[in-house]
Subunit: 209 residues, 2 copies
Amino acid sequence: MEFINNPREIEERSFEIITEELGDRVFPENIASIVKRIIHTTADFEYADLLEFSNDGYESGMEALKQGKKIYADTRMIQVGVNKKALADHGIEIVNYSHDPDVAKEAKLRGVTRSTVAMEKALKDKTVGIYAIGNAPTALYTLIEKVKAGEAKPDLIIGAPIGFVGAAQAKIELDGIDSPSIRINGRKGGSPVVAAIINAMLYQLGREW
Amino acid sequence: MEFINNPREIEERSFEIITEELGDRVFPENIASIVKRIIHTTADFEYADLLEFSNDGYESGMEALKQGKKIYADTRMIQVGVNKKALADHGIEIVNYSHDPDVAKEAKLRGVTRSTVAMEKALKDKTVGIYAIGNAPTALYTLIEKVKAGEAKPDLIIGAPIGFVGAAQAKIELDGIDSPSIRINGRKGGSPVVAAIINAMLYQLGREW
């Protein structure tokens, strides 16, 4: 069996294929790098149609990353999916609270998702600039409610909860606030997609292999 | 905003919607639970057509889980995506070596992927029964070569590397060996899909919330 076994070559060739198959669909360079990295992660070209930027989500998010602001992720999968070296290079921390014992306990008591309680915990930390949601519509709802109440002012919301109950609807609710956002419309999204968005943005700050 | 905020309810309703939309496409119960959990994870119904079982992959995999055999996962995302409580209930450990310093060092020296070296390391551990690949075609190729050489005899290969270079081809190579397997044909797959397959099988052993 012959195959390309060099990681850098594999990635470069993958991006060439993606660019080829996107064909006429050409995006501005910074957007293109996000679109392509999502497709690289999912092998699903539909994402080119589902990605939406609002209220200078890209610019505000890049600024937050430059300032080394913290990222709150609603899943551990996002945490492990984001390039650790790139985070370290820019002094950025990515945190997730949904598995914390205090969060689990409170969620059970209140009969709500751990994601809701974890988001509430994240919102108390004023060093968080980016809220990245790949799993729980309830986390996104909680965040949107707090923004509406004037209790949160995110630099960027990555709204990409996946699923059949509440996910598409929660993303539509983003239209009701003026927070900078990057979203995946519809049911699709998920932790690898969120990690891909963050990685693409981090790599734009400068990448070392 | 009104929304379902009870985790069990959200999952049940999601599975109802998936069953509804699968329509005429009815699968045997054990297979159905895997198909539906993958769709639940990806919001992508195409997976119903991409999932393939070979050489009693399901039966052999369930037996390995019953015996508490170790799972090797090629990504940390799979590790964190598999239900920890379900693993603990059945005394099953899931390991990943691709971030080990010795693995990274050797990969760099040899100019191969960390996934290849990590798979070689996993193959030395005879307590591993299930090899779960969601990312690296090179990990799957390495495994297939070792099986062909008579140096590995997996209870189950979950072959679901995702991507544009080598992924689809690596899965076709599974036809050249008689190992029990569950695969995702074509370019699609990925860590959340692999985690969904493992979770569905673990839940069939008995689930407590």
